[in-house]
């Protein structure tokens, strides 16, 4: 009872802090300057976004005067800005208030100012949030607290969408890795591609580079990366005519990469239980082809990872040092190996199922697209099985791709890097030198801009990133320190997966909601 009362006291004080932060004007300014020529070319959708995010438009005139317009539009001729506001002279005396029509040919520059929450205020809010979360959300579900590697957002229409996550399995310096993610939905507008790299978790992220790989492709062709990192051009894709899982027909979820995913719940008695989805294809051309899968992990692997950290407790530092010294060997039957990837099996002429390969891309945040070459198929129809751990994978898309030829990618470094709206030449130089690394902390957001090699050529785009990250051990995890159960995770993982099954089932349904809610992010 007393502890409940104290928890209530804490919530009240923390609530007061949050209200004060909200009221106290802790906001920062992102200023943008636009030339009249660029302003004239902005589509109406972008002008609307500008009006909504920056209510005042400052129009700097060539003679030094300035209009500050609080409501404005660009007229249909695109030669004038019409609005209501105040006109100042070069000495900044007020000349007039009212309605104005300003010819673009007299304008020197347009200025907008977007107010954003201060990074420091956001940090304070997050510290408050972390402390409050102890009392509310994470204490009931500590394994659902958001964690990730760097997340990459790409412009899709007029909004940024999460399209890739880098090196998800690289949780220690010795596990540093290179990751190639397909930007399946991306297309360049004009000569430049903009990507936002965010640190949205309670982590330190160490990024060596983030390069764009642009693969030229013929019109209406696609390009896919196989499991060895080679690129293949595909002139045609065929959808399966049927897809059947344990739940029955699941074809509708796999036909289009639209975020409508096929997934299952974990087994309630053994988290390593497998399941099979059987696909059927017809009218297959007799030439080289490959299976394309768009997929991501569920939060089950994240849960198991965080549970392992929790069992480490205060000794997490010791165990990570052991990993660095390579004293913790990858066991033949480790949890990771048992949980495994998505195995691709094809039925041969005798009716036997042969393993072709396995897709095992880590990360629960962004769907990635993989190609599994299958050589020449014996007949015009084929049955293919996807075998995977139940509840471990979300599949958004499958197709059979006709493969014409391997192709080479053009590597493009970022030509401009901004942090919080300011050019960060140091960050750009670091990201272009793979012997150095950029360290990011929770809440950091970098805008990376890439110059496309030519506007007349169509490209399939991929993002290659390299690095690792370090989870900040949550206070709630320390409470679960248990060397015996930690030993079981390493030495008898099969038993651990059976023991943890009922525990995981209790949180599985709500985990997704908790996970995304606990993301460390500055509002955009």
């Amino acid at each position: 009872m007393l502890s409940l009362f104290r928890a209530f006291d804490k919530i009240m004080i923390l609530s007061l802090v949050l209200v004060l932060i909200g009221c106290s004007g802790f906001r920062k300014v992102k200023r943008e300057i636009t030339t009249p020529a660029s302003f004239q070319k902005l589509p109406e959708t972008q002008l609307k976004v500008m009006r909504e995010s920056s209510p005042f438009l400052k129009v700097h005139m060539q003679n030094g005067n300035i209009y500050v317009l609080q409501t404005w539009i660009v007229d249909s001729t695109r030669q004038h800005v019409v609005g209501y506001g105040t006109l100042f002279n070069a000495k900044r005396d007020t000349l007039r208030q009212g309605q104005f029509q300003v010819g673009l040919d007299s304008v020197a520059i347009f200025e907008t100012n977007v107010l954003k929450p201060s990074g420091a205020a956001t940090a304070l809010t997050v510290f408050t949030g972390i402390t409050a979360a102890i009392t509310i959300a994470c204490i009931t579900n500590p394994k659902a607290c958001f964690g990730s590697c760097p997340t990459f957002y790409v412009l899709d229409g007029d909004s940024l969408r999460l399209r890739a996550e880098g090196f998800s399995a690289s949780i220690a310096p010795s596990l540093e890795a290179t990751d190639v993610d397909a930007l399946f939905h991306a297309s360049t507008v004009g000569e430049e591609l903009m990507i936002e790299m965010r640190n949205e978790a309670i982590e330190t992220q160490v990024v060596r580079y983030v390069d764009l790989l642009a693969v030229p492709r013929a019109k209406k062709h696609r390009v896919f990366a196989d499991l060895d990192g080679s690129f293949w051009e595909s002139p045609a894709l065929s959808s399966p005519i049927s897809a059947t899982g344990p739940e029955g027909d699941c074809l509708i979820s796999l036909l289009v990469a639209d975020g409508n995913e096929r997934y299952s719940r974990a087994d309630s008695t053994d988290l390593s239980t497998k399941e099979i989805i059987e696909l059927e294809f017809e009218n297959i051309p007799q030439q080289l082809c490959g299976l394309v899968i768009g997929c991501r992990q569920t939060l089950l692997p994240t849960y198991l990872l965080y549970q392992t950290f929790a069992y480490m407790g205060n000794n997490a530092g010791y165990w990570f040092a052991q990993i660095e010294r390579k004293n913790v060997k990858q066991h033949q039957n480790s949890i990771q190996k048992i949980m495994g990837g998505i195995e691709i099996l094809i039925q041969d002429s005798l009716g036997d199922w042969k393993l072709v390969d396995q897709v095992d891309e880590h990360g629960p945040l962004a769907t990635d697209f993989h190609l599994v070459p299958m050589s020449r198929l014996a007949s015009e129809s084929a049955k293919i099985r996807l075998r995977m751990t139940k509840g471990n994978w979300r599949i958004d898309y499958v197709a059979l791709a006709l493969l014409s030829q391997p192709v080479q990618a053009l590597r493009i470094h970022p030509h401009l890097v901004l942090k919080d709206g300011f050019v960060d030449e140091h960050a750009r130089a670091v990201l272009c030198d793979s012997t150095k690394a950029l360290t990011t902390l929770p809440g950091d957001v970098y805008t990376l801009r890439y110059q496309m090699p030519g506007t007349s050529i169509d490209y399939e785009l991929f993002l290659e990133s390299r690095g690792y990250y370090l989870e900040w051990i949550r206070k709630e995890w320390i409470e679960e320190e248990n060397p015996l159960l930690l030993a079981q995770m390493f030495l008898n993982p099969q038993a651990a997966l059976k023991r943890l099954a009922p525990e995981f089932k209790q949180v599985e349904k709500e985990m997704e909601k908790h996970f995304w809610r606990s993301r460390y992010a500055r509002p955009h």
């Binding site: 700097h60 070069a90 420091a120």
Partner: protein
């Protein structure tokens, strides 16, 4: 009682960290606009220049940033100054008022909120002190841009004339923004 002594010492430590970590500026009281007011402010930011040893001018120059050209920076206090970029050793631009002292108060309050954490105080309180002080210190820097850390050209959007000094303008008439009363 032990917990209360710990908290008392933590708050003293917090205040010390805060005062040492905050950025300083010579902008007169009432000169800088708040971040919200920058949306309608028609003046440049506050600019402070220190000269290189080779320069003939020794005392720092401070005032409103008027414009930046390829080879010069223009500042105004009661008079208009044109300064060669080559003469500048370091410079600080302050775009708006940071309100960091208010944030320091919030950090103190956040630390107080951990009183009831009992045993876990030793984890949570330091997080508030260290993280919170960094947050307050970081806030005081947010409206600040320093040269040579950033290129001088990145200061241009925050000048009174971001497009550059208008042709034919009477420089003798340009004076710094008046202080708000």
């Amino acid at each position: 009682m032990q917990d209360r002594i710990k908290i008392h010492n933590c708050v003293l430590l917090l205040l010390a960290l805060f005062f040492f970590s905050c950025a300083t500026t010579q902008a007169p009281r009432g000169w800088l606009a708040s971040s919200d007011k920058t949306q309608t402010d028609v003046y440049g930011g506050w600019f402070e220049i220190k000269y290189s040893s080779a320069s003939k001018v020794k005392a720092p120059t401070v005032g409103e940033l008027i414009a930046i050209s390829e080879d010069s920076i223009f500042i105004a206090d009661q008079t208009f100054h044109a300064i060669a970029r080559n003469d500048i050793k370091s410079a600080r631009l302050v775009i708006y008022k940071s309100n960091s002292e208010g944030m320091g108060g919030l950090v103190a309050l956040g630390t107080v909120s951990t009183i009831s954490n009992g045993f876990f105080l030793i984890f949570t309180a330091p997080m508030w002190i260290i993280g919170g002080s960094i947050a307050a210190g970081a806030r005081s820097y947010e409206p600040i841009v320093d040269y040579p850390k950033k290129e001088l050209s990145s200061f241009m959007p925050f000048a009174r004339y971001p497009q550059g000094l208008p042709l034919g303008i009477d420089r003798s008439q340009i004076k710094s923004k008046p202080r708000a009363l």
